[in-house]
């Protein structure tokens, strides 16, 4: 029996661990073999399926799903990705080690978010430029999030925390700590945050630190933000050797 495809079960259905070495045709064969052999076992169950171990394009994903359905009576109702698992893994690592997360992030399938990312591809191309990793939660002091792709964090980066990416960084929250985009030396990356208030920013080889606090006469803590200021999203890019932070405009990403 083929070892190129391994079926694992999880709460929602099954996970296929695919061999990344062999050609896609061979892989399809292996899938059909595997499910012919064990398809009856699943009967007519409705399942969600996820893939692991190999990057798949949308078409490839669909043809694998078709192969499974053709060779067994399983009904595949959803294709899931690893988000929830990733998140748990991330949480665990952060709690136990409190240190960098460079390992254990499985290569993601091409996500649904492809289309939106593709349009910005002139910004910060990475090895897997079409990939964006999503994380949810706040990065607290001492926590480091390292990604080999573009990264979107739904949450805040607090002072003392750091978010590092080979590509672009999008923080849907407040960036109050450190961020380093384009860690492999890509100066074309950007860092976006809904509330841009970082301690240090690095884009590729460029580096910027926040201005020193002025010796305030009366008010020590920053002014409470008014409703209007609250959602002034900003984007940082490297321009002419320095890092510029600008307010986000609608037209910024319009394709010329």
């Amino acid at each position: 029996m083929s070892k190129h495809v391994v079926i694992k079960h999880n709460r929602y259905g099954m996970e296929l661990v695919l061999d990344s070495e062999i050609s896609f045709e061979k892989l399809l064969e292996a899938v059909s073999e595997r499910f012919q052999a064990s398809g009856d076992f699943f009967k007519d169950r409705k399942m969600a399926v996820s893939f692991k171990g190999r990057k798949l394009s949308e078409e490839e994903t669909m043809s694998i799903v078709d192969t499974i359905m053709a060779n067994s009576s399983i009904q595949i109702v959803a294709i899931t990705d690893h988000d929830s698992e990733l998140e748990k893994k991330m949480e665990r690592q952060l709690q136990t080690k409190g240190s960098s997360l460079d390992t254990g992030i499985p290569e993601r399938n091409r996500g649904r978010q492809n289309h939106s990312v593709e349009e910005f591809s002139d910004f910060g191309e990475t090895d897997n430029q079409y990939n964006a990793e999503f994380y949810r939660g706040n990065l607290r002091s001492g926590q480091v999030l390292e990604c080999s792709a573009n990264v979107t964090l739904v949450g805040d980066v607090n002072p003392g925390a750091k978010i590092i990416s080979a590509g672009n960084i999008v923080v849907l929250g407040a960036l109050k700590g450190n961020a380093h985009a384009g860690i492999n030396g890509n100066d074309n990356c950007f860092i976006f945050a809904l509330d841009m208030n970082p301690i240090q920013l690095q884009i590729g080889q460029y580096y910027a630190k926040s201005p020193d606090k002025e010796a305030a006469k009366r008010r020590i803590l920053p002014k409470r933000k008014t409703e209007k200021e609250e959602y002034c999203a900003k984007i940082a890019t490297a321009q002419e050797g320095t890092i510029c932070i600008e307010s986000m405009k609608k037209t910024m990403f319009r394709l010329s």
Binding site: S99, S141, G142, I199, Q200, K209, P211, K213
Partner: protein
């Protein structure tokens, strides 16, 4: 001749970091070349209190692990030329450094600096052992609270066991009004319990909170706490400075009392 001073307390929140920042700055203002080392790996604060957080590139652990040179990690203070900070790492923990490595680091710094101040973490574990490893002298900070004094006593014992002979006491956040009412231990009470040489008394002062938030040490300023830290610095240098009278009343207080009919 350089001196290595560890600022420690056992209990957390009594003012080690504030004391380190102010004593360090104060000594620099008295034209000494000073370096402050934050040994609280994983919970760094000293950089924030000094307003140097945005300058950190390398840290103590990077130096020890030889990821950078010592000079690269030292941050020069924005105002004082001869004041430096060696920040701690935030993403590691206390086990990242050994007492032996700290000793070597401190010895390396001795060649260049007059005073090396070590901001010790709370507790008596690895971090504490790292901090005291290279020290010649200790400043034990305590507040006039039974729990803080209990911990300070334990710390003094541990320091003595580690053959650190020169131990001085700083009593922080004392409130004279409460002492008078009998609600707080007095300076004498604390000294009686600990029987350690007293080097300074710092009154509870809201200016401290302001200065900490602002990232500007208040040593040398006109407020009571600023003056108290200034005299501590002078005493560290060996000067004889009389303890100030915390009971001096301002005109405002006198007026207040007048209206109260005292």
């Amino acid at each position: 001749m350089s001196e290595v001073i560890v600022i420690t307390s056992g209990k957390g929140g009594v003012g080690k970091t504030t004391t380190t920042a102010n004593v360090g700055t104060g000594l620099a203002m008295l034209n000494k070349k000073v370096v402050m080392i934050d040994t609280d790996i994983g919970l760094r604060n000293l950089d924030v209190v000094l307003g140097l957080e945005n300058r950190i590139v390398y840290n103590l652990v990077d130096v020890v692990e030889e990821k950078c040179r010592l000079k690269q990690a030292l941050i020069k203070h924005k105002k004082y030329e001869n004041l430096y900070l060696l920040p701690s790492a935030q993403t590691r923990d206390k086990d990242a450094v050994t007492p032996e490595q700290m000793k070597n680091l401190v010895n390396e710094l001795r060649e260049e600096f007059d005073y090396i101040l070590l901001d010790c973490p709370a507790g008596i574990e690895q971090g504490f052992r790292n901090a005291i490893a290279g020290a010649d002298r200790a400043l034990v900070v305590t507040t006039p609270e039974v729990s803080a004094i209990r911990d300070a006593d334990r710390i003094v014992g541990l320091l003595e066991a580690n053959e650190l002979k020169k131990i001085d006491l700083i009593i922080n956040r004392i409130r004279l009004d409460m002492v008078k009412r009998g609600d707080m231990l007095s300076v004498n009470d604390v000294c009686d319990i600990l029987s350690v040489n007293l080097i300074g008394v710092v009154p509870d002062d809201e200016h401290i909170v302001i200065s900490t938030n602002q990232g500007e040490p208040l040593v040398g300023s006109a407020c009571l706490a600023g003056k108290a830290f200034e005299s501590i610095c002078k005493r560290i240098l060996g000067e004889e400075v009389p303890f100030m009278d915390l009971d001096k009343k301002g005109i405002l207080d006198m007026l207040k009392n007048l209206f109260k009919g005292k």
